[in-house]
């Protein structure tokens, strides 16, 4: 990767498609490994991306997971088509979740997703509008720092 260039990868995700849930994150992880990003950093990016991808599949009617890899950092942008989050501060609290029972039975919906994305990333931004959708941007610096 030259200094000013980046590598991009993006995937559409269908809402409710639990069979394929996590495929985008797995492909992004493989790309990061191929690019030689430090292993600890790859793990943080993979976990943050997977949490966000699962949220799109659980809560939204579909969306997009995109990775842009720069020499010094990776930026993950996850956007969805709604329904949007009425109270973002509440959603960022550990343990707060609106996931239905069938999602909890699959092992998700513990209210840890957004806090974990914050913990894994170096910079975290969430914008949401009810009726329109949510956009999450996470920046991960390429430095070795295990969780």
């Amino acid at each position: 990767m030259s200094e000013n260039k980046s590598v991009k990868l993006a995937f559409d995700c269908a809402g409710g498609d639990f069979e394929r849930a996590g495929e985008a994150s797995a492909k992004i992880k493989k790309m990061l490994q191929r690019l030689g990003i430090p292993a600890d950093c790859v793990r943080r990016i993979a976990i943050g991306t997977y949490e966000a991808e699962m949220n799109v599949i659980i809560h939204a009617g579909g969306g997009n997971v995109a990775a842009e890899v720069f020499p010094d950092a990776t930026v993950i942008t996850v956007s969805d088509h709604g329904p949007g989050i009425p109270d973002i501060n509440k959603a960022l609290q550990e343990g707060w979740s609106t996931a239905p029972d069938y999602v909890r039975q699959m092992g998700f919906g513990a209210g840890m997703g957004l806090p974990n994305m914050q913990k894994c990333s170096d910079e975290f931004d969430i914008q949401s509008k009810v009726g329109e959708g949510t956009v999450i941007v996470m920046k991960f610096k390429h430095q070795s720092e295990d969780l």
Binding site: R43, G107, M112
Partner: protein, 120 residues
């Protein structure tokens, strides 16, 4: 200890990753909540779970778990085992319940993932 020790202690059957049983394991997590596995495990942690869907393997891939032990003889579908094999992830099945399996492993010296769960 390594996964061969885990297999012996839990009298477990190996469904995938036989060739990786020399892998060393220091920490274990017992959970059916993949949200917790994503939030609290360390690299190379052994997961004991009763959940047998594809998300267990995907979660293991993202968090770089060392192996999965399915408790109470719960056996995943072949496509899940194949996905784990592709990810070089050993899959074991034990008759012990979650509580029993975790207790045996903790008693044998494996730590939990939290600071308080670390063995001296």
């Amino acid at each position: 200890m390594n996964l061969k020790d885990v297999q012996r202690l839990l009298d477990a059957k190996v469904l995938a990753g036989e060739q990786y049983l020399d892998r060393q394991i220091e920490t274990c997590c017992g959970s059916d909540m993949m949200s917790d596995v994503l939030a609290f495990t360390k690299r190379n942690t052994l997961l004991c779970t009763g959940l047998t869907n594809m998300q267990v393997v995907r979660t293991a891939d993202m968090t770089e778990l060392g192996a999965i032990v399915f408790v109470r003889s719960k056996t995943p579908d072949s496509e899940i085992v194949e996905a784990a094999a592709e990810d070089m992830l050993p899959v074991l099945v034990t008759e012990y319940t979650m509580f029993e399996a975790c207790g045996i492993l903790y008693g044998a010296g494996i730590s939990g993932c939290s600071k308080r769960g670390k063995k001296k």
